[in-house]
Each structure stands twice: as structure tokens, then as C-alpha cells.
Amino acid sequence: MSAGDGKGYLSERGWRSWAFTLDHKRIGVMYLCTTIFFFLLGGVFALLLRLELLSPQARYFSNHAYNVFFTLHGAMMIFLFIIPAIPSGLGNFLIPLHLGARDVAFPRLNLASYWVFVAGFLVIVGSLVAPMDTGWTFYTPYSAKTGAAVTTLSLGVFLIGMSSILTGLNFIVTIHKLRAPGMSFLRMPLFLWSMYATSIIQVVATPVVGVTFLLLAAERVLGVGFFDPAKGGDPVLFQHFFWFYSHPVVYVMILPAMGIVSEVIPVFSRKPIFGYKAIAYSSLAIAFLGFLVWAHHMFTSGMSPLANAIFSFMTFFVAVPTAVKVFNWIATLYRGSITFEAPMLYALTFIFLFIIGGLTGPFLGALATNVQLHDTYFVVAHFHYTMMGGTVMGFFAGLHYWFPKITGRMLNEKAARASWALIFLGFNVTFFTMFFLGVRGMPRRYAEYLPKYHSENVVATIGSVILTLGILAMVWNFVQGLRSGTPAPGNPWRALSLEWQTPSPPETENFHEIPLVTDWPYGYGTKKA
């Protein structure tokens, strides 16, 4: 591993060259493969759920099996896919390249955090001997009573949280210390700003979930009554702890995807990003405000109306920096010279679907309508629009955008567009339908439902089949590209950020010479406005 040996980082072979690598790019790739695996597995569970919901009665599985499936689906998608995928996967690969650095600040810690993550999911797999049925939210007292292996699972989540803290710390230090000469904070690509904000949330919030799961384990194993009213505990306390972590973590899920979109939109419009500073600072504002709104998940848990009012008020404030980002992206398109390669299609899809996710937020933020819609399919639709329509589409944009850089090969553009079309169609058919179910009162986590909800459920299931076909086509395209794609030039999209100023795939230490940065990475456009 000598600097500038001219060979791509992928040239070394054998499993040891991966398992013990200190190269941030390889660690990033390992994270990507692992998390994509869990995305597909979580998707299988989603399909099983939709299959069961084809009929109002539990026809194919028992209620219990359904409950296990939605728990596995949710928990995997959240803890094993969406939280780590962009930060630890694409983030690891890109942060040093974006900064003009040779690696992250602590390469060994980086490798350690990957293996802690793997240990975490192995523990979780081990806990499946007694499948959990708590939902990914683990509310007490149910989670303290159910027979499933919640204690083992807590340990797994604890380890995964630890890995996430280590990665976050590593990124913060890297961004502070390893920027190439000339790269001031205000010359950083917006992806770095979003990763910076994300890392802060991870470091500050994740310890809380660690503690929460320790308390839950103590309750189950030692019989301590933190949450048990019979012992003077408070069952709702768990929800406060849980959401104090899990609400900010919603922004760990979405901010990195916003970062990707902020990279892709300017490149494919050949325009500088509109309102750079507003986008950069709004990431920090979201990170900060995200800590003040956790109890908006708990408006029906018996909190005082005053507390509800305060949390509802704060919730609406997060909407503002988010709206600012959306307006800026759209303004970037104005008078551009736009092309629609797959990364751009997914970035535009992100904006389109995220707007729907975002505009259904006020229904849940306003108290009167929250009480009506909370814990119904309206919420299921809303969070799939933000998490899958937002984050996952941003992730797909990033995968298509950086695929040439990561693998050194180009994707088949036609296949990419065809799979995009299926995904776009399938997604909307599946999840838009759920808004109607929710408004009409169908509660979430229902294995069986009243016949009056039947037709929407059938439509949603048909949509999920289309969606699945699209995702399979996309995966197939990745595999084909990897095996037989045409070799990629260093800068296929003619972008200006630093990762494109090195060959594809980059060599082990990224750059022959550390670049000198003289401008921000969005200098498109020749005519002065």
C-alpha cells in the first residue's frame, strides 16, 4: 500500500485484503454490500407483509408471524440499512476523496467500527432463535414482557450504535483536520456539510439509545422496575428515551441523502447550486432543532396538553430549514442545461417524493389532526415517502452517480432508466394508497383488518410487486455493470468536486498529489448572471 503506485484500490485480491484493510474506500464498499444485503432482506419481509394484507383475514400466516415480519422489516430497514448505508457506506468512500485527503483521520478505528457493526448484526441474527414481535420501537411494557429474545437484541442494537458513534467521531475529526490546502469550510461540497451535521447527531444522540436498551435489558433480566408501574416505574418514560434518540436519527437518515442530491442536481443542470450557504447552514439547523421535537411521536400518550402544544410548535420549526433546501434545489434547475441520466432521475425523484412526504408532515404536526392520524396507515405512508421516497431514492442517486468511481465501470443507462420507471410507478401506487387507508382509519401493525379497507390494500400490494420488479432490475443492472460495464473515465459526468479529479477507481491513497483547492466545487456556468 504505497502512495501513488498507480494501481486502483481494487487491484489487491483475496479476503484478507478486505477483512484487514485500512483503506476507507474498501471499508466503504464493505458497508455498502452489507447494508444493501439487509435492504433486500428487509424488502423480502415487506413483500410478505403485503402478501398477507391481500386478504382481510390472516390467510397465509398467523397473526404472530405477521407481527414478527413487520418487526424484522422495520428493525432491519432502520438499524441495519438506512442509518448506516449512506454515512458509513458512501460516506466512508467519499469523505476523504471529497476533502482531498488520503484517508480518514483514524483508519484503524474505521475498520474496528465496521467489525463492531458486523458483531452487532450477528448478535441480532442470534436473537432470532426467539423471533421478536415488538415493532422496531420496542415499547415497554410489551417489550419487557414478551417471550422473544429482546435482551439479546438490545445488545445487538447497542453494538450497532457503538459502531455508529465511532464512525461519527472519525468523520468529525476527519472533516476538521484533513481538508486539502485551500479548502475552507465554505468551499466544502454540500455532501460534506450534511455528513458533518449527521455525525454530530450520531455522536450526541446514539448514547441515549444505548442507555435505553441497557435499561430495558436490566428490566428484563434483573427485574428492575424503570418502566413497570407495578414497581413504581413509568411505561411512558421508555418512549421519551426512545424518541429522544430516534427522532434526531430520522435526520441521520435524511440529511446524507439531501447531501447527495445537492451534489447531483448542479452537475446535471450545469449550474452552481443555488443558495449554498442556506443549504449548508440549514443542515446544522435541522440537526439542532431535531433534538427538540421528539415528543411529537407521543401526542396521545397522556402528556399534558401544554407539553403537546410546545412540542407541536417546535416541530413546525424544523419544517422551515427543510423547505429552504427544497426551494434551493428547484431554483438550481432554473435556466440550467439539464440532462436526465439515472443519477439525475433519482435526484429529481427524491425531490418529488420528499415534497409529498414533507407536505404530509403538517397533518401529523398539527395536534387536532395528529390525534386522528397517529398510528394509522397515514403515518406508514408518510414515513415511507420520507424514508424510502427520500433517503432511499437519494441513496440510489448516489449509487448510480458514484458507481463509475467505485467500480471503474459504467452502468447501462437504458436499463437504469427502465428500472427507475418501475420503481417510481410502483412506489407511488404502493404508498400513496396508504394515505387513503390512514385517513379512513386503518391502524398500522394490523395483520387483519375490516373488509371496508380491502380494495386499497389490494392496490398497495400490486404496487409493491411493481416496485420489487424495479428494484430487482436495478440490482441486475449493477451486477451486469460490475461484470461487463465499459471502463469508466476518471470524470464521466464532468463534475468539479475532487473525487472526480482522480482515476476511476481511485488508487489506494486517492491522489498522486494532494490537490490545492482554489474555488468551491460548483463553478458551473459561463455567462455571469
Binding site: 397473526n63 408501574p229 452552481p272 396521545t300 387536532a368 398510528d375 395483520a447
Partner: protein, 313 residues
């Protein structure tokens, strides 16, 4: 539950929630059209027409006035939405004076109702049209969510605590009650109904119900009615696919394997005991989750249920 009504608002307060919903829908609909419209319009209008001209775009990096506008406008709009959401909500939290109080206890997996006079019921709440009623909610095991979609209200039922909810039904009819906080295997079967009766009808029911059933009704018939009304069928099936508990059909007279390896023959005494003290003999392979009916069923009602079960050979 075949007579569940359509989804129109069933109380004046629910109508107010619908108004807030509509208000938000109009505002968000406007911004939806605006943003998606611009997105699609720009994407189409500014697509690259000729190759090679790709860098001839204006170098626009921002516009302070525009950015201030789109920080201020959303701020004002969301504050307005917050205000209406909060106003209607806080009005709704204050019960109208003179509300009758009904206790509701969530249990895995049924709603146990206790009326002021001490009468109890399972999964079925009867109230009068036009008269406000306040529900005092609690739970005997895990958290449940008490949800009445047509009334646009919901509140969690939490062990060790009493929470409350009130409504004032405007329409007679039968309305769904759902459990919205995940509570285990029977979560999606934890449904009940709110039966809103005309005042005269309600008074008659109150009188009639005081006479402990109908004297001329044959016991098995009465048992069948009780099994339906007491939440038994949430967990037990009379025919067809097994639910959470053992099937009722063919139960009487069979040999039942118990946890611990013994068996017992399902005679009348066994059936009676299983209703009032379900934990005493737990059937092999089934979770010990059934609540006792000791307080909610009178001895003769239990007898009627047993007689009914005997008919299900």
C-alpha cells in the same frame, strides 16, 4: 361487525377536526402544486436541447431577497397551521359539562367496559345520541390505543395510569373502536364497537339490561350471544382456522393436553373453570394470556356459555 357505518364525522368536534384537515389540505395542496409544478416545468423547459452548449448557463449562485421570502413565508404558514391544530385540540380536551363517565380497561385482547352503575361489558359500549360521554382509560397489562375513527379521537390506555377522552355523538349507529398501540398477537383483533342509541332506545336498554337477560331465551342461545358480545371470538374460533386460543368446535368431551404433560377431559366443570380462572389449566401450545371473566360474567351467564359450547360438537 357488519353494521359499521361510513367514515363521515359522527360528532361536532370531529367536524372541527375535519375542518383543520381541510385547511391543511388546501395549504399543502397549494404548495404541492407550486413546488412540483416548478420542478417539472423547469426540468422540461431547461432540458439540454443541443449537445455542446452545456456550459452556457447563467452563473446564479443565490438571491438574498428570494431566500428571505422563502424562509418567512413557510414560517408564517406553519405557524398558522400550528395555531389551528392546537386551538381545536385544546377545545377538544375539555369535556362538555354533564358528561357520563365510562371506564374502559384495555386487556390483551379486548376492551372491558364498566358503566357508572357497575354493569360491565366487553368490546361493546352503548351511549346516547346527543349526550357527552367521558371515557376513563386504563390498562391491565401493556399499552393499548383507544381509537374511534369516526370521532377523530384516540388516546393511549396505559397501565398504572388513568387517561381520558370524551366525545358527544351526533348520529345514532354503530362505530368502530380499534386498538392502535401494538400489543401482541391479538392486536389487530382488538376491535370493539360504540353503539350510539336514540335516548328512548337507550333508556329501554338500560331498563332491560338491568333484568339480567331475557327470561324466555334458551340457555345455549343466550350463551351464543354472550360469546359474541364478550370478546371470546377475538381469540377463539367456532369453526375454521385456529386463532390465538383453541378452537371451540369439538371441544366439549374431548381430551385436552395441558402444559406439563397431563391431560384433562373437557367436561362442564373444566369449561367453567377455564372461563373464570383461565390460568389454572393451560392448554399445551397456547400462551397463557386469557383474562378471567370472574367479575364480568355472572354465574348463570357462565352456565349459559357452557351450554352453548356443549352444542359445538
Amino acid at each position: 361487525m357488519n353494521s359499521i357505518q361510513s367514515f363521515g364525522a359522527a360528532s361536532g368536534e370531529a367536524g372541527k377536526v375535519d375542518a383543520v384537515f381541510l385547511l391543511i389540505a388546501v395549504i399543502c395542496g397549494f404548495f404541492f402544486l407550486l413546488t412540483q409544478g416548478l420542478l417539472v416545468y423547469f426540468a422540461v423547459r431547461y432540458r439540454r436541447r443541443a449537445a455542446g452548449r452545456d456550459n452556457e448557463t447563467p452563473r446564479i449562485t443565490g438571491n438574498h431577497l428570494l431566500e428571505i421570502v422563502w424562509i418567512l413565508v413557510p414560517t408564517i404558514v406553519v405557524m398558522a397551521i400550528f395555531y389551528y391544530g392546537w386551538k381545536v385540540y385544546s377545545d377538544m380536551r375539555i369535556p362538555r359539562p354533564g358528561a357520563a363517565e365510562v371506564h374502559v380497561t384495555g386487556k390483551q385482547w379486548m376492551w372491558e367496559i364498566r358503566y357508572p352503575g357497575g354493569r360491565t361489558a366487553i368490546n361493546e359500549i352503548r351511549v346516547q345520541r346527543g349526550k357527552p360521554v367521558k371515557f376513563l382509560l386504563s390498562s391491565s397489562d401493556v399499552i393499548h390505543g383507544f381509537y374511534l375513527p369516526e370521532f377523530r379521537v384516540k388516546m393511549d390506555a396505559i397501565p398504572g395510569r388513568i387517561t381520558s377522552l370524551w366525545l358527544s355523538p351526533d348520529r345514532a349507529g354503530t362505530f368502530a373502536i380499534h386498538c392502535t398501540v401494538y400489543c401482541g398477537d391479538g392486536h389487530s383483533n382488538m376491535n370493539g364497537s360504540l353503539i350510539v342509541m336514540e335516548p328512548a332506545e337507550y333508556a329501554a336498554w338500560e331498563r332491560g339490561a338491568a333484568e339480567a337477560g331475557r327470561a324466555d331465551e334458551p340457555l345455549p342461545k343466550r350463551g351464543e350471544r354472550l360469546v359474541g358480545a364478550s370478546g371470546c371470538l377475538n381469540c377463539h374460533a367456532v369453526s375454521g382456522k385456529e386463532k390465538i386460543g383453541p378452537n371451540f368446535s369439538g371441544l366439549f368431551g374431548s381430551k385436552v393436553p395441558l402444559e406439563g404433560g397431563t391431560t384433562v377431559s373437557a367436561d362442564e366443570e373444566y369449561l367453567r373453570e377455564s372461563i373464570v380462572d383461565p390460568g389454572a389449566k393451560v392448554v399445551k401450545g397456547y400462551p397463557n394470556v386469557m383474562p378471567t371473566y370472574k367479575t364480568s360474567m355472572k354465574a348463570e351467564e357462565v352456565r349459559a356459555v357452557v351450554e352453548y359450547l356443549k352444542t359445538l360438537r
